[in-house]
Subunit: 386 residues, 2 copies
C-alpha cells in the first residue's frame, strides 16, 4: 500500500468543487453499480469472473471485487502481482509471459507465498523455452507448492500466444511433465475485438476466437490432458464469451470505470449498462477569444485510444478537446450552441482509455454523491502503478 | 526525494545486461556530454540557461545542471516546483498559469521559503484575474518576500499567453501596482516550432516569435516598465533564440536525454550535437514466425510524439515497432536484411518523446560505461512525477 500523502488524507470529506486539478476522480456510486451489474451478469450466465487489475492496479479494489463475487484477479505484470499479493489478494493470474530468470524466481517465490495462504499464482506461457525456464526457477526456489500454468493461444489478437493447433497441445504436454507445474487451461484473449465499433464485427470476431479456443480445447482433451479451463474476454465482448459455452472465466477490467473509447462502441443489447465512473477534473487556466486552455494534458490522461471528451454537455453545447502537451488541453467551440467556458471554470473529462490513465496517477480520488455535489469519501491507492 | 526501493538500491553496480525489463535507462556518459555541450553553447552566446525540469523531474539532476552553469530550473506545475524545492533547488520558474486559490496559497508559501534560502519563485500569468488572485494569495500568506511574475505572451504556440500588444503591457502594469508582485519579464515559448522538421521552417517560426517578443519588449519599455527579460526556447530551436539578441534566457529540457521525435528534425549546423541518452531496455518475451513481442508497451514509453525506435540497427537491419498495448511492443522485419530477434533477446528502444516517458517512471537507472558493457552507477529519482 503506498503511503497516503498528508494533503490527500486531509481531503477526505472535502466537497467535490474543492478538489485540486488536474485530478483523477472516481464516482464511487457509479463504480459500485458497475460492480453489481458485472456480478449479476456473471451469475446469470453461470461463468466465473476474474477482473483484470491492469485497469485499477489497486489491492483494495481487487478485494472489493472479490467480495462481490469475483474469483480472483488477473494482472499483466509480475510487479502488479506482487503489489496485489502485498495488499491481501491470494488468487492471481498473470496473463502474460515471463522469460527473465530473475523474474521467474520472483514468480516462484510469490507462488509459494500465495500457496501458503491458501491461494495460488498462475502464469501464461507460449513457448517451450518459457516452460523450461519456469520449471528451472521453480526447482531453484525449491517450493513444493507448484504453480498453475496456462497455455496462451492466439485467437485473433496477433500478439503473444501460439496458434491453437498441435503446438498448443505439445506445450500443454511439456507443462504436465514438469513436476512443479500444473497445466491449468487456455488463455484466449482477443483484445483487438474489444474496440471493434459495431456489434456485428465484435460478434464475428469472438465467434472466430471461440471456434479457435474450442478447437484447442478439443485437441487437448483428445490428448488426454483433461478439460482445461478456457479464460479470456473483456468488457467489449463479454456477452459473447459468456454465452459461448467454451469460456469458463471472463477477464474484463474496464467495466469498472469505462472510458471514451468504449463509449464509441455500438451497444450490445445484452451488455450490462456499465456507466462512466472515472473522470479527470480540470480547470480553465487561460482564456482567449478563439479557445480556452485547461490544466489537463496527456500527463493526466492516456491518449493511446484518442483524446478525452468533455463530460455532461449536450451535442449542441459540445466542446472540442485538442492535445496541448503534457499539462494542457485546448478547448474550442464545437456544438452549434456551445460557448467557451470562463476562466477558472471546473470541467470534467472522460479519458480516452482508462487503464493507462490510471497508470499515470498514484492515487484516485473516490467521490460519493455525484460529481456535482458529492464529497471525497475514499482515496484509492494505485498500488501497482509503474 | 522518493524512497529508493530495496531492489533498486541493490542494483547499483549491476551489469547492464542484468537490468530487469522493461526499464528506463540513462546513459550517464551521454547525458553528461549533453550537459557540457549545452553549457558551452550558452557560454559562447552569452545567454542564461534555465533548463526545463518538466523533462527530468529530478532535483538531483536540476542541481547537477546548476553546477554546470544553469541559472536555475523551469517547471511546469506547482507540484514540480515543490518537489524540486524539497530537493534543494532554490531558483525556480513555474512557466505556467495558476488560478486555483489553494494552489496560489501554496505558491505564496513556496515563494517565502525559497526567498528565505536566498532563492526565488517566479510564475507566469496571462490574465488580470490571475494577477488579482495571486496578489490576494500573497496578501493572505502575509510574506514580505514577494514573488517574480512573468507575463506570458503567445508567440505562435496558440495555447496560453496574451497577444504581444497593449494587453500584455496592461498586464505588466497590473503586476507592477501590486506591492508583493515583481514584474520580471516575458515568457515567450513557441513549443510547436520545436518539432517542425526542416531547419528553414524552424528558423522562420522563431523569426516570427522573436519579432513578436521584441515588439512586446519595446511596448513595455516605452510604457516605462523597464527592460524585461525575455525567456523561452527549447532544444529544437535554441540556436535561433540564442542568436536573436532578444531572448536573454533559454529553457531547453530535452537536450539532456533527446528522443526519437527530435531525431526526426533536420539538424541545424549550429546546434550542439546532443546525443540520445534515455533508452528503454526491453526483452523479447514471445516469438512467432511473423513477429516477436517485447515487454515494452505504452506504459514504458509515451506515444504522443510517435512510437519508439529500436536502437543501434543499421537501416537494412531495421525492425518495425507497433504498439501492442500497455505492456507489449510488436516487432516486425523492416530492413532488407533484418531478422527477428530471438526469444529472450534484450533490445534498446529510443522513446518517441522523453518528457512524458520519464513521467511514467518513479526512477531512472543511470548506467556508466555504455549500453553494451556498462554497469549501474546511480538511480535517478523522478521526484516530481505525476
Amino acid at each position: 500500500m503506498k503511503p497516503l500523502p498528508e494533503h490527500l488524507r486531509a481531503s477526505i470529506g472535502l466537497r467535490v468543487d474543492l478538489i485540486e486539478t488536474p485530478a483523477p476522480v472516481v464516482d464511487l456510486d457509479a463504480m459500485e453499480r458497475n460492480i453489481q451489474r458485472m456480478a449479476e451478469f456473471a451469475r446469470k450466465h453461470g461463468v466465473r469472473w476474474r477482473p483484470h487489475a491492469k485497469l485499477h492496479k489497486s489491492a483494495d479494489i481487487a478485494l472489493q471485487l472479490q467480495q462481490a463475487g469475483a474469483c480472483g484477479a488477473c494482472v499483466q505484470t509480475l510487479a502488479e502481482a506482487e503489489a496485489l499479493a502485498a495488499g491481501g489478494v491470494h488468487d492471481i493470474f498473470l496473463t502474460n509471459e515471463l522469460l527473465a530468470a530473475s523474474k521467474l524466481l520472483r514468480a516462484a517465490s510469490l507462488a509459494a507465498q500465495l500457496a501458503a495462504r491458501g491461494g495460488r499464482l498462475a502464469l501464461a506461457v507460449d513457448s517451450a523455452e518459457g516452460v523450461a525456464r519456469l520449471a528451472e526457477a521453480m526447482q531453484v526456489a525449491g517450493s513444493s507448492a507448484g504453480i498453475d500454468v496456462f497455455v496462451e493461444i492466439d485467437v485473433g489478437q496477433g500478439r503473444c500466444g501460439l496458434p491453437p493447433g498441435p503446438e498448443a497441445v505439445a506445450l500443454a504436454q511439456a507443462i504436465t511433465v514438469q513436476p512443479r507445474l500444473r497445466f491449468a487451461g487456455l488463455q484466449a484473449y482477443h483484445g483487438r475485438a474489444q474496440h471493434l465499433r459495431s456489434c456485428a464485427e465484435r460478434r464475428a470476431a469472438i465467434a472466430g476466437a471461440t471456434a479457435l479456443a474450442a478447437q484447442a480445447h478439443s485437441l487437448i482433451e483428445a490428448a488426454g490432458l483433461g478439460l482445461p479451463l478456457v479464460t479470456g474476454s473483456g468488457t467489449g465482448t463479454l456477452v459473447h464469451e459468456a454465452a459461448s459455452g467454451v469460456y469458463g472465466e471472463l477477464q474484463p477490467g474496464s467495466f469498472l470505470f469505462m472510458d471514451a473509447d468504449y463509449a464509441r462502441n455500438e451497444r450490445e443489447p445484452a451488455q450490462p449498462a456499465f456507466e462512466q465512473a472515472l473522470f479527470i477534473k480540470t480547470q480553465v487556466i487561460s482564456a482567449r477569444e478563439t479557445h480556452v486552455v485547461c490544466d489537463a494534458g496527456h500527463k493526466s490522461h492516456a491518449i493511446d485510444s484518442g483524446l478525452p471528451q468533455v463530460w455532461g454537455l449536450a451535442p449542441e453545447r459540445a466542446l472540442g478537446f485538442a492535445n496541448g502537451g503534457d499539462e494542457h488541453g485546448i478547448l474550442t467551440v464545437r456544438g452549434s450552441k456551445a460557448r467557451l467556458p470562463a476562466l477558472g471554470r471546473m470541467l470534467w473529462l472522460v479519458p480516452g482509455h482508462c487503464d493507462p490513465t490510471v497508470n499515470l496517477h498514484d492515487h484516485l480520488i473516490g467521490v460519493r454523491g455525484g460529481l456535482a455535489h458529492g464529497t471525497v469519501e475514499r482515496i484509492i491507492s494505485v498500488d501497482a502503478r509503474g
